[in-house]
């Protein structure tokens, strides 16, 4: 059996779960197994209803104590549910939730955990996985003969197509008590309403060449008209210009947008590994020898404070006088 642990936000399934269902279907078909989705939470029927075209079974682990994610409650509920099931692969979300939970599940279920898969293939009943090492400087291929917990790199896999509604919805009784939960969230402070940088189609990043925090508004404007979000290099984050949550690179996030625009970023190896999987790269830099140009599909050698306003002006003209943004 191939299992996917679903993640949702504001009653909407997350893109990472659709991608996990897409990858899970490939595994399930190649191994002749069923694809099952697990949704922990409360009041999940409407959400599950929309996913019956993508999974063969959708298990609802409903309990008031699962309404908000806590690793203690999720761990216990999933351990109780999965301990007597066959698990060829369990795909957990490649998000803060999955990264928090997976090592605990690995211990509870006595299964190994292999995070950050960027490729999946089945040959003669053996699952082959590729994943980045050293932040993506090296790609490793591994074979797994046994059961395992996996996570996928966001945007590395195609989302499951919406198939004919065929799945079965199954409610599972969950036993949890207040005392099971030791780690309790008091509140969640939303820092941004924007799309998470790892989920964005367009990322416009600034580096040391931005000169100061005040100049990032220029990148905000460019990102807005392209329907994207703003990122930053380590230099810009370490200088205190931008928060770490948007740092692209080895000690920040790995992003794979459709378009990555690097502005005033020289292209140190630790930055390159955070953006090298982008579909297209546009670089803007004063220094014609900056290593970032070796990573670029298109590059403009010039002063970004001249190039970007000009770029914004022309894009607005094409889009008809600067009407609104294309934000999802």
């Amino acid at each position: 059996m191939i299992w996917v642990l679903g993640e949702y936000r504001d009653e909407e399934i997350k893109a990472v779960t659709l991608e996990a269902l897409g990858a899970g279907r490939v595994l399930a078909e190649a191994l002749g197994a069923e694809l099952s989705l697990i949704l922990p939470g409360r009041g999940l029927e409407p959400l599950a209803e929309g996913l019956l075209g993508m999974a063969d079974k959708v298990y609802l682990l409903e309990h008031a104590l699962l309404a908000t994610y806590t690793n203690d409650a999720y761990r216990k509920a999933l351990e109780d549910f999965l301990k007597d099931k066959t698990v060829r692969a369990l795909i957990v979300p490649g998000t803060s939730t999955g990264r928090d939970l997976a090592p605990l599940l690995s211990v509870s279920l006595a299964l190994p955990y292999l995070p950050n898969a960027t490729g999946l293939e089945v040959k003669e009943g053996v699952i082959y996985i590729t994943r980045p090492l050293y932040g993506g400087k090296v790609i490793e291929t591994l074979s797994l003969r046994d059961e395992t917990i996996l996570s996928l790199m966001p945007r590395a896999f195609k989302a499951a197509p919406v198939g004919k509604r065929h799945g079965e919805m199954i409610k599972v009784e969950v036993r949890l008590k207040e005392d099971d939960i030791r780690v309790k969230p008091k509140e969640t402070v939303r820092v941004t309403e924007r799309v998470d940088i790892t989920e964005a189609d367009v990322v416009v990043s600034g580096g040391r060449g931005m000169g100061g925090p005040e100049n990032f508004s220029l990148l905000e404007e460019l990102a807005d008209i392209l329907g994207g979000v703003v990122g930053a290099s380590r230099a810009a984050v370490d200088a205190g210009w931008m928060p770490h949550a948007v740092q692209v690179g080895q000690t920040g996030r790995v992003v794979s947008p459709k378009l990555y625009i690097a502005c005033g970023i020289s292209g140190a190896p630790q930055h390159i590994v955070g953006m090298r999987t982008s579909r297209y790269v546009l670089a803007i830099n004063k220094d014609p020898d900056a290593p970032i140009f070796r990573m670029a599909d298109y590059g403009i050698v010039g002063d970004l404070f001249e190039v970007i306003p000009e770029l914004i002006k022309k894009i607005k003209r094409i889009k008809g006088g600067g009407v609104g943004s294309l934000k999802q």
């Binding site: 803060s96 980045p132 591994l142 395992t148 329907g227 770029l311």
Partner: protein, 260 residues
């Protein structure tokens, strides 16, 4: 407070990684090794808590070679004791195996708090901290950006980084926290610290002394190969006339990349 910090050595993030002939191992000889950057935040936080509330910071690492350097770095930053589990049987061990070793050692020590880096910058697995918490069955709070401890109440409050925001978390102690960048600004070791680290005696352990058999660590994965990522970039670079460069770029954005 008794605080334990788990450490790992990793190649400096600034260098390229070469692959050995045969394509199954990375070249390790000559690499500049450093204390994992996330572990540095963990050490700094532990030392700050000790400075505030008094107590003792013990750092531990497990591996087949080179652990002394990272332990000494932590001692130079202000840690008090260093434990090195080293054994040829630890070579190539995955995070679950390392967590088994560390938790076995830690379970025989007094502790109120365990700190780890949220992941190593080599494999980026983020397995060890969470698995140690799981094996010791203590609360886990991962990827924290701030930590407040209340030793008299056996209680802690942490800010944990999540997508689009921050979660404020409460938990009882003892507990394990994994450090995210931003938790603090690690200090540079002081000269007296460096001198102390030079003289400090590391406590050595091996697998048999902690009662674990090598056979317990059958890797569930077989490495089939290593490669460098293929780069296929167009490399069209505009110099000179700004207006022309921007016009061409906008054309690509519209017609080829199709974001307009």
């Amino acid at each position: 407070m008794d605080i334990i910090v788990c450490l790992k050595r990793v190649p400096d993030t600034g260098v390229e990684i070469e692959i050995e002939e045969g394509g199954l191992e990375t070249k390790e000889a000559g690499l500049p090794w450093v204390l994992n950057p996330y572990d540095e935040y963990a050490v700094e936080e532990a030392v700050r808590i000790k400075e505030r509330f008094a107590g003792r910071v013990t750092v531990i690492t497990a591996g087949s070679e080179g652990g002394e350097e990272v332990l000494k770095k932590a001692i130079a930053m202000g840690a008090d004791e260093a434990v090195y589990v080293t054994d040829a049987g630890l070579k190539g061990l995955d995070g679950r195996g390392i967590a088994m070793v560390l938790s076995r050692v830690i379970s025989k020590m007094p502790f109120d708090l365990i700190l780890c880096g949220k992941q190593g910058t080599d494999t980026d697995s983020g397995m060890v901290g969470g698995a140690v918490a799981g094996l010791l069955n203590i609360p886990l709070v991962s990827a924290i950006k701030s930590l407040k401890v209340f030793p008299d109440k056996n209680h802690a409050e942490a800010h944990r980084e999540v997508e689009r925001g921050v979660e404020v978390i409460e938990c009882p102690l003892p507990a394990l926290f994994t450090a995210q960048k931003g938790l603090n600004e690690p200090r540079y070791p002081s000269l007296p610290g460096i001198m102390r680290a030079k003289k400090h005696e590391i406590r050595y352990l091996d697998l048999s002394s902690i009662g674990i058999k090598k056979e317990a660590f059958q890797s569930p994965f077989n490495r089939e190969g290593l490669s460098h990522p293929a780069l296929k970039r167009k490399g069209i670079i505009f110099k000179g006339d700004l207006g022309d460069a921007v016009n061409q770029t906008v054309k690509f954005l519209k017609e080829e990349i199709k974001v307009l």
